[in-house]
């Protein structure tokens, strides 16, 4: 399976600021996804990162709040904009061959917003 890295691994941010999270994969992959895992909770899909086009967002998530880029088949970024304490979560990128197929997750970015 692909090796996935994320930067930063963790951060503490002030409310009202923005943070960009990077996801790098060591090989070209078809599908890249961004998930949020709130403390003690399950995983919720934020969006599918599409190479060369706008991301596909799930219900409850919007581009203004979570802009996503995917310039090529090995890299994607997720920005958490105008943060509030409710955005404190683990943000995980994942790769897979399809939306319903096995997901391989990056190590996650642990975000605390004060």
């Amino acid at each position: 399976s692909a090796v996935i890295s994320q930067k930063p691994s963790r951060d503490i941010c002030q409310r009202g600021t923005s943070l960009t999270i990077q996801c790098q994969v060591d090989s070209q992959v078809t599908m890249m996804f961004w998930y949020r895992q709130q403390p003690g909770q399950s995983l919720t899909l934020i969006a599918t990162a599409n190479q060369g086009s706008e991301a596909t967002y799930e219900s409850g998530f919007v581009i203004d709040k979570f802009p996503i880029s995917r310039p090529n088949l090995t890299f994607s970024t997720l920005t958490v904009s105008n943060m509030s304490p409710e955005d404190s979560s683990i943000y995980l990128c994942s790769v897979g061959t399809g939306r319903w197929e096995t997901q391989y997750f990056g190590p996650g970015t642990r975000l605390l917003v004060l």
Partner: protein, 109 residues
């Protein structure tokens, strides 16, 4: 509402005891996947089941997919402290892979 449900939410066991987590879906699933997340870690894929009534084993872990393809279970025989973590099932619902709420397993040595 949540369409893939897991029970129990938490389970404490003594090392050496068995453990089972159950996953139920409101709809028929084309496949069911299981993941393990260690404390402080990220979800790691364990297995995928596709066929009705399928049973797969990985050492002390036994995975089952129900005949109606709406439920699944993960059974761990003789738990060890290395089994600690949260176990998630996930299935295709609508246009995405939907994760259950997870079962957090704690093992007392």
């Amino acid at each position: 509402g949540q369409q893939v449900m897991q029970i129990p939410q938490y389970q404490h066991v003594q090392e050496g005891e068995d453990f089972t987590t159950y996953c139920n879906s409101s709809t028929t699933l084309s496949n069911i996947q299981w993941y393990k997340q260690r404390p402080g870690g990220h979800p790691v894929f364990l297995i995928q089941l596709v066929k009705s009534g399928e049973v797969k084993k990985q050492k002390r872990l036994t995975f089952q997919f129900g005949e109606a393809k709406k439920n699944s279970s993960l059974h761990i025989t003789a738990t060890q402290t290395t089994d600690v973590g949260t176990y998630f099932c996930a299935g295709p619902v609508g246009n995405m892979l939907t994760f259950g709420g997870g079962t957090r397993l704690m093992v007392k040595p």
